[in-house]
Symmetry: C2
Subunit: 206 residues, 2 copies
């Protein structure tokens, strides 16, 4: 956990709550945290889900490893320490989105159990839904897809600290959702997620 | 500008755009950036505005110096370097909110011209509205209010780097909105802001 440096700061509770914003939007909020190897299909399922949610007039927003790393986390690299800070910041941003009433779709490799648990705790301590989605795919399948050509570069030693090659991936122990992207269709994957959102009362049944 | 550390990252453009989300919400998005001395009334006007926007079914979210410093920026203090990084991160978060379709209400002392201009440029380069609101109040009036007792502590030397006491405040040169909170009522202040939002087509006229 990052040290709290600033003192003399206190949480401001405004008049408008998360519940007010939920009424305005007509649905509840949550963070869906997609974790898995590069090439496992995290972004693919998040993009598809975003489209389905939009059709249902549900406000969601994708936080994406690449997008965030070009913005707020542009001063972070891929060392273990920087990965931890990357995930911590994204977790805090996702929490702000949930507080706004938005369904946050975070897709990050997020290879370390402890880092993901920090984000889970951030949400659960605030009474927010945190739904871990394990986007599971064998390394062989992910490496064969290699949509960005990154495995090839990692194997050639051109990229260091690459998850699955020379950096570990710690699989979720008990994720809320477990997708096997080398065995399921995209439609099946999205349906599983929608069902969980409905069962939890985040979305009304269609 | 923070150095871009991660390479091999590319912006993902999803199917759902800011325009789609604007249609879903029924209004456009923007960042309102409230800047001014501690005690000038930034949070007060932001909270009031948030309430008025909510009555009009407009989704807004307050990003607040204190709130953010307890979350994403908990590892930052008040040195010039940390203030700059604080504002940079908040600027990036505000931009994500605007991309989501939300009106971001950022209230931070944000004492340095250059830091605010970085955030302005971030928005304008992405075709986003950035509305700087100078929450202007004499140091004497802010110090007399001293709602958090911080000026007293700063004068006693218990807080260092306190804006207006032993750290500079660089006033906006040409802000979109200039509020004189020691001469205006809260209602007048909010009306001025609403008028600007309507004139810019961010809100429909009531």
């Amino acid at each position: 956990m990052a040290e709290q440096k600033a003192t003399n700061v206190h949480w401001h509770e405004g008049d408008i709550t998360r519940e007010h914003r939920g009424e305005l939007l007509g649905h509840k909020a949550a963070t869906l945290w997609f974790t898995g190897l590069s090439g496992s299909g995290k972004s693919t399922v998040a993009v598809e889900l975003e489209g389905i949610l939009s059709e249902r007039k549900v406000l969601s927003y994708r936080l994406d490893g690449d997008n965030v790393r070009l913005g707020i986390n542009r001063n972070l690299g891929f060392s273990a320490e920087d990965r931890t800070e990357n995930i911590r910041r994204v977790g805090e941003i996702a929490k702000l989105f949930v507080d706004t009433g938005v369904i946050a779709l975070s897709s990050f490799v997020s290879p370390y159990l402890e880092d993901r648990d920090v984000v889970r705790k951030l949400h659960e301590d605030a009474g927010m839904d945190f739904i871990e989605v394990f986007v599971d795919c064998s390394l062989a399948a992910a490496e064969e897809r290699d949509p960005k050509g990154l495995y090839k570069k990692a194997r050639a030693g051109e990229i260091k600290n690459f998850t699955g090659i020379d950096d570990p991936y710690e699989a979720p122990v008990n994720p809320e959702i477990h997708l096997h992207t080398d065995q399921m269709s995209l439609e099946e994957e999205v349906n599983i997620i929608i069902k969980v959102l409905e069962d939890r009362g985040i979305l009304s049944a269609a």
